[in-house]
Subunit: 428 residues, 2 copies
């Protein structure tokens, strides 16, 4: 992964994550992942993330090794009130700084507990004992975090609860670090999301990339059923970085055409929603194998009630007839998973909902229900709009959840392509 | 987190994860998480997970530090064919073992590439160069992994692609380790899933836990909107472990009553589906604010077509009237988010679908649409069955996605409670 191959070495930095649950397969780390990304986006590169358990030997040896190697050490976890929270005590022992009761902090904690209507527990006093010389990161919160410095070494201690850790990271640690060291080159990223092209098709298309972009770093990451491309540009001035990022994005969009459907945080359902809103058009859906997933995705977007009227989740054959007016003869002759059925479903929902577009999906999500003729993963998609009805058959691979997700993505992509006037009905 | 507080120290073990994408916030680690859990479930405890970038200095210093400290070192990543894959070369340098071309492996790789209809690329030869004395972990695959030993130190090198890594872990590494060292005590875990009780309510209930269970290790983990409790028992014999696990589970179920809804891999929707199937009952849903999420969750279970007939996602007021027969006067007088509306929705979907149970949800998911009277998060749930209709109002907190998820969970829990004959309509 050439993601940070050319990143500038600035201050040497590492992260220590403390928690038994993270070295026992119980919990997937969120903090190392978040902190390293947060730092890199400001041009600060982490060299290592160490995850150790809640015990003095592990914490102490990680701290000792870290200050030997790195100028900046960010530590998360083990700051809570229980006896399993041992970070503060370990800091005190390793750096020979006795714990001191911070009376202001104690008063603040007591006040907060009272304000929340909770009863005081003696174990909470532990939160106010800090190593001598520690600087509180945010005096306005109970889980305030702290930092200590030894010469040119700076250590930051943050709580393990992700929300608290993120707040302190953004409000206290990052500003503090940027004061100590302004990175010469700021990296900026853009994410382009691609659907309907495989990784190797994208790689082939990239051979047409112009040489002018050789200072730009590209990365590919599959994110089922999408493929994501990251563009990274580093530079000194915002304007220049923006221009280069823009240029790289334009060239990729040119090479990949309508397969690029969104950038950065945008999702397929957000793009579709945005377009419907702009065009003042409305949508209704008829779902069989996706079971409500398309409606769920559409309505995950705030304000979707403006363009989304209704969905009919027609699992039984009778519901297809009763809710959408699909003819029983069609179901008998061709089956519920058929081109004929999906067309009637799309037309049926459009007609009953009086929307501009009717979208329909019917298929076999598995693991049961497949036949030689229509194996598991066979999915028909239909779209009815403006006196026309389109339909096609796909074969999606994978388990039930993947077939459902892929079907929902393809169906939404049909709406996007229809509205943009792109070449319609792509393969997979 | 007291999860592994009493775990037995066996062989000293650590994991090294290699990949720039993991120290740059791009990708969340899956391999350290999986490998540590996989080892702990066999009684093998990992002391540390180190994550470093794709460069020689980082890989080399991690390897050197690891063999100093740990008997067993498991390394993932950096075994691929590109120039960014540097693990094998680093091993060669650190342990002074020249790289040797394994002719059998090379022939095997070439054969596989041909079989897949892919064209040979010279860079693939790199996969067959291994440090002298390396033992291939699985000769039947291209990404075969390898191990080397130095005295009582054993190092295992696995590919970074999670599926490949997991296969090799289970098929080669674990059996190898268990031959070297049979843990005295095998831990076994059970997960109990709780909905409708807060962490502090669970903690209060746990005060009633009998002293006989003091060899059992409990852990609490919030998993929105559920709370999960892990039970860990260690012992020498399967029968005895099973009995203790059983006893602990029974006691917790006794203390928490109907709030425990599932164990281990079971989900709320699977439990509800199982019960409907057993009772040969059918379900239909009418969703407003959840937008199809309840239907999606129900149909994520294979075979759900036996008990799930249909869903009406009634986003617009007109769809509520047309699809469910909700009276326009009700909507005008009380609004679409009201007790009156949700009752008509539940009765309406049950009547039109001819199912045993009709389930309905209407609410304000936000961020817009809240009023003083009905703020964002106000959600009505209705259930109609057996000539009776139940309804209640909740105030869920959080963003749109959390309100949707919480509403879907509560609605499904109503069906579970109704079918079990539990005290109905819980608070939150």
């Amino acid at each position: 992964m050439p993601f940070i191959r050319n990143a500038e070495e600035t201050m040497s930095m590492e992260i220590i994550i403390i928690g038994d649950e993270l070295i026992s397969g119980k919990t997937r780390d969120l903090n190392g992942w978040y902190a390293s990304g947060c730092l890199l986006s400001r041009g600060l590169l982490v060299s290592e993330i160490r995850t150790v358990g809640d015990n003095y030997p592990s914490i102490s040896s990680a701290l000792r090794a870290a200050v030997k190697k790195s100028q900046v050490v960010i530590v998360t976890g083990g700051l809570g009130p229980t006896e399993d929270d041992r970070t503060t005590e370990a800091v005190s022992r390793v750096f020979r700084r006795p714990l001191v009761l911070d009376q202001d902090l104690l008063a603040h904690i007591m006040e907060s507990i009272a304000r929340l209507g909770l009863s005081w527990s003696p174990s909470l006093e532990k939160l106010a004992w800090l190593p001598k010389g520690a600087r509180i990161l945010d005096p306005n919160r109970e889980m305030c975090g702290f930092s200590i410095s030894r010469g040119d070494r700076h250590l930051y201690f943050l709580p393990g609860v992700p929300e608290q850790m993120r707040e302190l990271m953004n409000r206290a640690v990052i500003p503090d670090l940027l004061q100590k060291h302004k990175p010469r080159l700021i990296p900026r990223h853009r994410l382009l999301k691609v659907y309907g092209m495989s990784e190797s098709q994208i790689a082939d298309a990239f051979e047409g990339l112009s040489d002018k972009l050789n200072t730009v770093i590209f990365g590919f990451y599959p994110s089922f059923p999408e493929n994501h491309i990251t563009i990274t540009v580093r530079g000194k001035e915002d304007d220049q970085i923006d221009r280069e990022l823009q240029k790289a994005e334009q060239e990729i969009r040119h090479l990949l055409g309508p397969y690029v459907f969104a950038s950065d945080e945008q999702t397929m359902e957000a793009v579709v929603g945005e377009m419907l809103k702009e065009r003042r058009m409305t949508l209704s859906v008829a779902e069989s194998c996706t079971g409500g997933l398309i409606g769920h995705r559409i309505t995950s977007i705030p304000g979707s009630s403006v363009y989304f009227d209704r969905g009919a989740t027609v699992y039984s054959n009778r519901s297809k007839v009763e809710m959408l007016g699909v003819k029983q003869e069609i179901l008998t002759a061709y089956g519920a998973v058929s081109d004929e059925a999906v067309r009637e479903m799309a037309e049926g929902i459009k007609g009953t909902a009086h929307t501009d577009i009717g979208l329909a999906v019917t298929g076999i999500a598995g693991p049961e229900g497949g036949t030689d003729d229509k194996p598991v993963g066979t999915v028909y998609i239909g779209l009815s709009a403006d006196e026309q009805t389109f339909s096609a058959c796909y074969r999606f691979s994978g388990e039930r959840d993947k077939v459902k997700l892929h079907s929902s993505e393809m169906a939404l992509d049909w709406v996007r392509r229809y509205l943009y006037g792109y070449p319609f009905i792509p393969g997979i």
